[in-house]
């Protein structure tokens, strides 16, 4: 039985434990039909031209957790940003871990989507936002929606500034063999409210894990959302991340994606600007090697006038790794005075590393500023020589230059301890021991 059939037949098993009278269930059923019609994407789809899921889909994944797994905090502490106080929503093999989590209902809601989907007090928010931000016609998103059960739920009411960042972490233990995880998160930030979120998917032992995650983020008028994705997983872990952002007037949403690990990572990042004077920022640093594969597929829908979007992705590819950047900017005919900037710069450290970079601009308004640029290069030989004449060995010199290349993406990280952590991850990934913070 292939994975598609398995998913379709497993849906009935899922239904047995759900409240079938809930309006959410209609959404699930409709989404399953969408997935059934579309199936998994293949390389024949333009959007998946450079990334093949075929191999991953051959694994015989468990779809539901068979038992609760537990892990010790000391074994996983390093995956948290523990230097600072934060809210935490932690899942182990798709099941909420109250022991590792630190949720709240004090002023803001940081809790579980399963609770939000079932409890009456959240009904209004769920009806208004759940599956309303996501693209209902995208097959993997539809698949996630049909199985949507658990994930993080964040609600920040009007004019509230979340006083500490929220960490959302999904662990996969491997105790139940190869696993397909489908976390679903919803983040609603009301007018003039602010929140910072750090998200991570982490496999803890040798097993094939495929995560098909969907996150919906709604930023109301003048809201501010900083969202950080740390992708530094094991080499047998794969991730398809579908993040949808809808913004109202004067809001500001920044998504940083740090892709350092994993076997195959696909980031579908979609922004829709439903108001004026909106600022959307997408930044990324990708540093991979071996046979790793990272694909950034961004889409910004400029459908109202006077908005801005900024994209800055840096990629560093070693060994036989493959990178993809596809950045689509759509400017509707009424979206006059749009400022849309896109930059994708790449360094190939080895002859066998590959980057496919493709800007895609569809502009129907006539008074806009749109720029895009992509570069593919090697490290500057003169700069390398300069560092080596100062006694810095070739390997470290390359690391320093590579660091310098990616650096400006870190400048906008608003959580200092996170910035330090990312710095250290970069140094480690590049195999340099600089012995001090840069």
């Amino acid at each position: 039985m292939d994975l598609k059939e398995k998913m379709l037949s497993s849906f009935m098993a899922l239904e047995q434990e759900l409240d079938l009278s809930s309006p959410v269930h209609d959404i699930r059923s409709t989404s399953l039909k969408t997935f059934e019609a579309l199936g998994f994407p293949s390389k024949k789809d333009e959007a998946w031209k450079y990334t093949s899921l075929a191999k991953l889909l051959k694994n015989d994944y468990s779809i539901f957790p068979k038992k609760e797994s537990s892990i010790e905090l000391k074994d996983v502490k390093k995956y948290f940003l523990y230097e600072i106080d934060s809210y935490k929503v932690v899942f182990i093999d798709g099941i909420y871990s109250p022991f590792l989590s630190d949720t709240t209902h004090d002023g803001i809601d940081v809790c579980l989507l399963s609770a939000a989907l079932t409890k009456p007090k959240y009904r209004e928010v769920i009806e208004k936002y759940f599956n309303q931000v996501a693209d209902k016609e995208e097959s993997l998103t539809a698949l996630n929606t049909s199985f949507a059960k658990e994930g993080a739920y964040v609600y920040v009411p009007k004019s509230v500034v979340a006083e500490k960042p929220i960490q959302i972490i999904h662990f996969s233990t491997g105790e139940q063999g190869d696993f397909l995880l489908q976390p679903r998160s919803l983040v609603v930030v009301e007018e003039n409210a602010q929140v910072q979120i750090i998200e991570r998917h982490q496999s803890l032992a040798a097993h094939e894990v495929l995560t098909n995650a969907v996150t919906e983020i709604f930023a109301a008028k003048s809201a501010l959302v900083d969202y950080y994705k740390i992708q530094n997983d094991r080499l047998d872990a794969s991730l398809i991340d579908n993040t949808y952002v809808a913004q109202e007037s004067d809001s500001n949403v920044n998504v940083h994606t740090f892709s350092f690990g994993g076997k195959l990572t696909r980031n579908n990042l979609n922004f829709t600007q439903n108001g004026e004077h909106i600022d959307s920022t997408m930044k990324g640093i990708t540093i991979i090697g071996e046979q790793q594969h990272v694909d950034h597929y961004t889409l910004v829908n400029h459908v109202q006038p006077n908005c801005e979007s900024h994209q800055d992705y840096k990629g560093i590819y070693a060994d036989k790794s493959v990178g993809v950047f596809n950045g689509k900017i759509y400017v509707d005919k009424i979206a006059q005075k749009t400022n849309a900037f896109q930059q994708n710069n790449n360094i190939l450290l080895d002859d066998k590393a590959t980057i496919n970079t493709k800007p895609q601009l569809e502009i129907f308004a006539d008074d806009v500023k749109c720029s895009h640029g992509c570069t593919i290069g090697q490290l500057d030989e003169d700069a390398l020589f300069y560092l080596r004449t100062r006694g810095i060995p070739k390997r470290e010199a390359k690391g320093l230059l590579t660091y310098a290349f990616a650096n400006n993406v870190l400048e906008s990280v608003a959580i200092p301890s996170l910035k330090t952590r990312i710095n250290k991850l970069i140094a480690k990934k590049l195999g340099v021991n600089l012995g001090h913070d840069l």
Partner: protein
């Protein structure tokens, strides 16, 4: 300290150095002058160990060791320093962190522990003061947005911190106004000792008023065609390089 014998070097199959002979002993200051395109910068780059330059004949021996066997970083660890004519900009790496990395890399190569942070800071402060470098400057990204003069002063700051045995100053005077030139020259003079040596590569005699050479060599068309004392530099300044070309013709 440095013995160069019949050095031939080429880049992209074009021979630039065509038989250089040079002997530099501890405590000496040598000036290498010559018209543009004579091979001055190539000579300094070859001594520092650039991989794009191929030594086809001859040898460079430094403290008894053939440099051809060594990478650029290994030459630096042995005490060779090149002050660049065009220093490279490295965004995101501060002057301070860069120098720390460089010093600790050299120490590591010699089997030493990292320099204690306190000692490092003290040394950085002393050397910066000597070169009249503002502390704000030290937390800027290396060479990024620096003026020509700032870049050169930063090169000499690195020289002061790394304390090499052999310092090669490639066109250090270009881009410097007279005040900056004096500060830089003063710094170099303070660092001079009986155990180290300086090779000043310059087109003009101006810098040599402040860093006074023991020997002056004229490089022309890939060879040292004339050597003398500091008076030779004055003669070149007064007469230009044409008379040398005529002498050779």
């Amino acid at each position: 300290m440095l013995t160069i014998k019949d050095l031939h070097a080429s880049v992209e199959d074009k021979e630039i150095l065509k038989g250089i002979n040079l002997q530099v002993n501890p405590g000496e200051v040598h000036a290498i002058m010559g018209p543009n395109g004579s091979g001055k910068s190539t000579l300094s780059t070859v001594i520092a160990g650039h991989e794009d330059y191929e030594v086809s004949k001859g040898s460079i021996v430094f403290d008894g060791e053939d440099l051809e066997e060594l990478d650029a970083e290994q030459r630096a660890h042995k005490g060779v320093f090149l002050s660049f004519q065009y220093p490279v900009e490295i965004p995101g790496v501060t002057v301070t962190n860069f120098i720390k990395t460089a010093i600790n890399a050299s120490r590591k190569a010699k089997g030493l522990e990292d320099m204690p942070a306190k000692d490092m800071l003290k040394s950085i402060r002393e050397k910066a003061a000597m070169l009249e470098i503002d502390s704000k400057f030290l937390s800027r990204s290396l060479n990024e947005g620096f003026s020509g003069g700032e870049k050169k002063r930063n090169e000499i700051f690195q020289l002061a911190m790394l304390e090499p045995k052999l310092a090669i100053l490639d066109e250090t005077d270009s881009g410097l106004d007279i005040d900056a030139l004096k500060i830089v020259a003063n710094g170099v003079n303070k660092l001079k000792s009986k155990d180290n040596a300086v090779v000043v590569i310059t087109h003009y005699q101006r810098l040599l008023d402040y860093i006074v050479p023991d020997f002056v060599h004229v490089l022309y068309n890939g060879r040292i065609v004339k050597s003398g004392t500091k008076e030779l530099a004055h003669e070149l300044e007064a007469k230009g390089y044409d008379w040398i070309k005529q002498e050779l013709a």
